[in-house]
Subunit: 191 residues, 2 copies
DNA sequence: GACCTTTTTTGATAAATATCACAGAGTAGC
DNA sequence: GCTACTCTGTGATATTTATCAAAAAAGGTC
């Protein structure tokens, strides 16, 4: 069953009819996560896309020195997965973790037989999701490549100001490819 | 007509039958490029994927200070495009340019009616290509994020040594997110 | 082979950012 | 409201890498 709580987020990606929604419902499973719980762990296989109903997730790589690098944050109404791990069917390099108590819907893509005609609504929905996720990662990386730390912070201010409210400075720093200290100084106009 | 020169590269991605190859042939157009010619220019729309028969291409972003940043190199038997520009149907941020005299095959994806059933061989071929391209960009960016300049050079030595033969130090440097001078010093063990 | 152009190397210096150490704020639990 | 814990801010310093300038090497052309 697709809750009214997430219906809006599903329809925003693909305008399913009421009848189609019923067909698609079995693909969705609700998961409750406590703060700090891993939804996908580095090294695990990834067969799902996740939709956040409430709360928030972060996706990060572990570096050899023990620190982690945030690649992506996912909030209410947004989707995430490790697309590389999913497509290559190889262990995920990414960990996806709840930043607070979070409700997610899992779209388990391999438990169900793939429809023959991939122009059906569900397949198109999944393809659109995949495209959104891949493009947003690529845009983020492009932004990092094209800008210095101060410009990256200004980019967040202009384009994703909600991140400043929702994410700790430490998490935001690695997302921007800099240290906590540097971001703190940028934020307080020390540069 | 699909030349025997590229047939191998097409079949490597999808095992078309001889009959299917005939169906698919009209999607391919041969283009000859002189060294330095732009195949796709920043600001242009992008409706194609390109397959290199011989020669080589580089894909780069122009930075505001006039320098450019190489994102990708494409050699014989490989494919490239600006996937973001193609999917979003927006002007390309990327320029794709011939590094030497180059023969490419253009797969113009919008000049032909989309088959209804996207599980047909050609659609699957295109989807597989898209996935390859997106993943290779993501892997490259991940590599840059996870490694310092010396490690990035060692990564190339271990994983893409042919780049050292085929690409100038200057082009390789921006691909690795560093300056020519730094790459030269790394290569000569000054770090 | 001489000449011109481009690429690579090297040294000196400057700039940016990280690292380290610690103080101060904020927050959660009791 | 106190305590412990985590997060943020600041200064001092170190490190990394860029920048600038110029020489050396390599490649192309006639």
């Amino acid at each position: 069953m697709i809750d009214s709580s997430i219906k809006e987020y599903v329809l925003k990606v693909y305008p399913f009819s009421e009848g189609e929604l019923l067909t698609v419902a079995p693909y969705f499973h609700k998961i409750l996560l406590n703060r700090g719980t891993d939804l996908l762990r580095e090294g695990a296989l990834c067969n799902s896309i996740y939709l956040v109903e409430s709360g928030s997730l972060r996706s990060f790589y572990n570096k050899e020195d023990g620190s982690d690098v945030n690649l992506h944050f996912t909030f209410e109404g947004e989707y995430t997965t490790s697309f590389m791990a999913y497509l290559n069917r190889e262990p995920s390099q990414l960990t996806i973790q709840a930043m607070e108590d979070t409700v997610v819907w899992q779209l388990n893509l391999r438990n169900y037989p793939r429809p023959k005609d991939s122009n059906n609504p569900f397949s198109t929905y999944i393809r659109r999701l995949a495209i959104r996720l891949l493009i947003s990662t690529e845009e983020h990386y492009n932004m990092l490549m094209m800008n210095n730390p101060v410009e990256r912070y200004q980019y967040i201010l202009s384009n994703k100001p909600f991140l400043l409210q929702k994410v700790s400075l430490g998490h935001l720093a690695s997302y921007l490819g800099i240290t906590r200290e540097t971001l703190s100084r940028i934020r307080n106009n020390k540069y």
